[in-house]
Amino acid sequence: LHLGVTPSVIRKRYNLTSQDVGSGTSNNSQACAQFLEQYFHDSDLAQFMRLFGGNFAHQASVTRVVGQQGRGRAGIEASLDVQYLMSAGANISTWVYSSPGRHEGQEPFLQWLMLLSNESALPHVHTVSYGDEEDSLSSAYIQRVNTELMKAAARGLTLLFASGDSGAGCWSVSGRHQFRPTFPASSPYVTTVGGTSFQEPFLITNEIVDYISGGGFSNVFPRPSYQEEAVAKFLSSSPHLPPSSYFNASGRAYPDVAALSDGYWVVSNRVPIPWVSGTSASTPVFGGLLSLINEHRILSGRPPLGFLNPRLYQQHGAGLFDVTHGCHASCLDEEVEGQGFCSGPGWDPVTGWGTPNFPALLKTLLNP
């Protein structure tokens, strides 16, 4: 029984023991980035760990903050990112990238990309809660940002982006409704994280789709070869496919994975806040678990995981709990009646391959 998602609920659901923490001796590290001009307070993190971090070794402060932290009020998103990245990826050196203060003269997401191109030594795993509808961005910008994400993949950085909180999305193109993919979630060079809920809200049981979980098919990027087999199988077998006019079936499909995104406890401005929901929550959780796997890899002399998708799809999602119940939201019209895609066996455009079963995932990703 639980009254909202806390680190111990996460660790129990994803089969983490109190031993599953960083060693504190490796050069492992992780980072979260948010561009909302929000601040986080170390004091909130310390209080969060006092409240919820009692049964696992953890670090009580971040290692490095990039971008000035104002004296402003802490933001829920900034607090949530740090608190769940550092409790899932416990006892691992953590950086926080936070956009500049009040009079930001630039585009914070662009500044983060420039930082990646200007620092040789960066954390291995980066969780990023940022996205815009593909159709609102110029193709020059989308293509160039995609190249920046490719540069990061070539360097072995694992970039995890939230899949978004509007389900399949919806907009009207020449009078007809279509689903609305978001970017960078739709980039073929990142791992995109969707969201789930517990089937029984107050019990740690199996997970179903969180109806807000972003997912679908890119209108800009063609399907990468690494996901051809999995997506083709979904398209040929899903009993609940929306009309083909709503989506681009040949596009890069996302998300790739998922984690709980519903009903989190967060401490912000010294106040514990319940029921915070969004894929901005599931992304740091999944990122933290990948950091733990990197820890084992680094301690056994292997390179970090890097760009995960080719391996993830090759292994057909081994080590993940497959989510097969539920659909996410979309257009409110008489044709689809608010329903987007539905989850099903194997990969699907709502929860990807599913949510992490840590010991099994560690086993499949440790070698080579």
Partner: protein
């Protein structure tokens, strides 16, 4: 001249308001995304280091390797720097890969450099963030087309959070 981003949304996001034209002597920073090289090769390398069946698996590039691969051509670097210098751009700084250049200019200089741009002050978002943006599309001299992908800091507004605090899940009597 040509417009590098004709398809970029420039409408004001909900919750933002215009505070009027910016003063021509004010300063702002703009980011120039310079055209890179060898992107095909970069894509091949990403496949090689990310595929567990590849002999290159896990043999990642360093930032310096990536810089050597994608760095803009000398012609691009020279053309863009000459263009910015002539416009009076100051305090330009680059990154190790040299494919981004951030410079400070006065509003007047920026509007001369980027024909069509018109800078306004805006405030909005959950924390009343102030930004300077252009609601009108900008153009670049045709000669720059092979050298600049886009200019950042003109049209895109800071993102807003999509986290929500949902009321506790409605439970039909299963928990006392």
């Amino acid at each position: 001249s040509y417009s590098p981003e004709p398809d970029q949304r420039r409408t004001l996001p909900p919750g933002w308001v215009s505070l009027g034209r910016a003063d021509p002597e004010e300063e702002l920073s703009l980011t120039f995304a310079l055209r890179q090289q060898n992107l095909e090769r970069l894509s091949e390398l990403v496949q090689a280091v990310s595929d567990p069946n590849s002999p290159q698996y896990g043999k990642y590039l360093t930032l310096e390797n990536v810089a050597d691969l994608v760095r803009p051509s000398p012609l691009t670097l020279h053309t863009v720097q000459k263009w910015l210098l002539a416009a009076g751009a100051q305090k330009c700084h680059s990154v190790i890969t040299q494919d981004f250049l951030t410079c400070w200019l006065s509003i007047r200089q920026a509007e001369l450099l980027l024909p069509g741009a018109e800078f306004h002050h805006y405030v909005g978002g959950p924390t009343e963030t102030h930004v300077v943006r252009s609601p009108r599309p900008y153009q670049l001299p045709q000669a720059l087309a092979p050298h600049v992908d886009f200019v950042g800091g003109l049209h895109r507004f800071p993102p807003t959070s999509s986290l929500r605090q949902r009321p506790e899940p409605q439970v039909t009597g299963t928990v006392g």
